[in-house]
Symmetry: C2
Subunit: 227 residues, 2 copies
């Protein structure tokens, strides 16, 4: 028999799928705003307009719900960046991606952290399974960046010494740290600095034809306006 993942259910009709989705959506939104421990199942029940029975019909317990929220947020983050991630193969594309990330933060007035990063931070020490799920989300994200950088190198835009995997990890780390500082300071400045600095480093690997003239990546990072 084709048993599905761990806590998966019986058949699940269209109506059931809709209810389940409503619960996950509501939970994801609340958890993004208030964190996992700041979100009670009563809150979720109210926001999704469901009863206890429904919650526990679709999710074994709070951990199972949070697990679904992690999957949801990973898809949301990667999905939202899809237009950029799928063409991440030039400095211009990299900078466009950076702009998109910064724009999102600005739209949120620097409230909330990275949907994945915040969950990772809150759950890493409390539940090993959830920690791994968040880590897997990070991996998927880094992989997308890596593929883009790899394409840049393949096409001769980046020098051979540029290691796509290393650079992708470094870019993701700068993003996460930048978002955290940005959240704490309620300013996009740290995120912009972190990303610009890292992208400038990537630019230092450009081949002459990749970007003619300008001495590869140095001193272009400027302090952005206070936001």
């Amino acid at each position: 028999m084709t048993v599905l993942r761990s806590a998966d259910h019986a058949p699940l009709t269209p109506k059931g799928r809709a209810t389940r989705a409503r619960i996950v959506d509501a939970a994801a939104a609340l958890i993004f705003e208030r964190g996992v421990s700041g979100t009670s199942l009563d809150d979720v029940k109210a926001a999704a307009s469901v009863s206890s029975s429904q919650l526990y019909h679709y999710f074994a317990d709070k951990v199972a719900l949070v697990s679904a929220v992690i999957a949801h947020q990973v898809d949301a983050v990667l999905g939202g960046q899809e237009p950029y991630l799928s063409h991440l193969d030039s400095m211009a594309a990299l900078r466009a991606w950076r702009d998109a990330v910064v724009r999102v933060r600005r739209t949120l007035n620097c409230h909330g952290g990275c949907p994945i990063g915040s969950l990772a931070s809150e759950l890493a020490e409390s539940d090993n399974t959830l920690r791994r799920e968040a880590a897997a989300g990070f991996s998927r994200w880094a992989e997308r960046i890596r593929v883009g950088l790899h394409a840049m190198r393949e096409r001769g835009e980046l020098r051979a010494e540029a290691d796509p995997a290393v650079l992708a990890t470094a870019i993701l780390a700068s993003t996460q740290g930048g978002i955290l500082l940005s959240q704490a300071h309620r300013s996009t400045a740290p995120l912009e600095i972190a990303l610009d600095t890292m992208l400038d480093y990537v630019a230092s690997f450009l081949t002459p034809r990749g970007q003619k003239g300008r001495r590869a990546g140095t001193g272009r990072v400027r302090v952005p306006n206070r936001a």
Copy 2:
């Protein structure tokens, strides 16, 4: 009259100071392991061997205690890095600092996040005052790095275009993001990559006499062994 900070108390005898410190120490340790919401005041009471009256005699409420824990952790982190931060004025010193940061993570088997970063992430959206306190901790940290880089530039080791404030922020962001990825993956690799990459970028600003011969900072980051 010289009124002290917000929730500060009456005189406070030596014995009282000791009890207060015992509470903060215990709370800091528990919160580092389990997070703020994962740590009940009963846990703190037990760990510090104090009664409710004592807790509430020294702290108005849980928020006040957490505030004290933030201050404690900021001092602990900066204090622990003091030997490095106070001589952060050469690439060698920068790398020694990097090694120290990585060593701490390795000692902890990549368990727990940055004592400041984790608090910032957990509390940023739940309490504005605590958010600002964490942000202030980040600022103190970045400032120390900035001063070191500034000294490097003053002494002609870094070129004039190197902006100490920008680099310090970028380094701190890489550190925070690196630690988060390292915590999620339970491996020091992402942290090492993030820091090495960023320090390599800093090295790209070295003047010829700062580091002779080698083309400034490129392609030296290697993937470390799995930890």
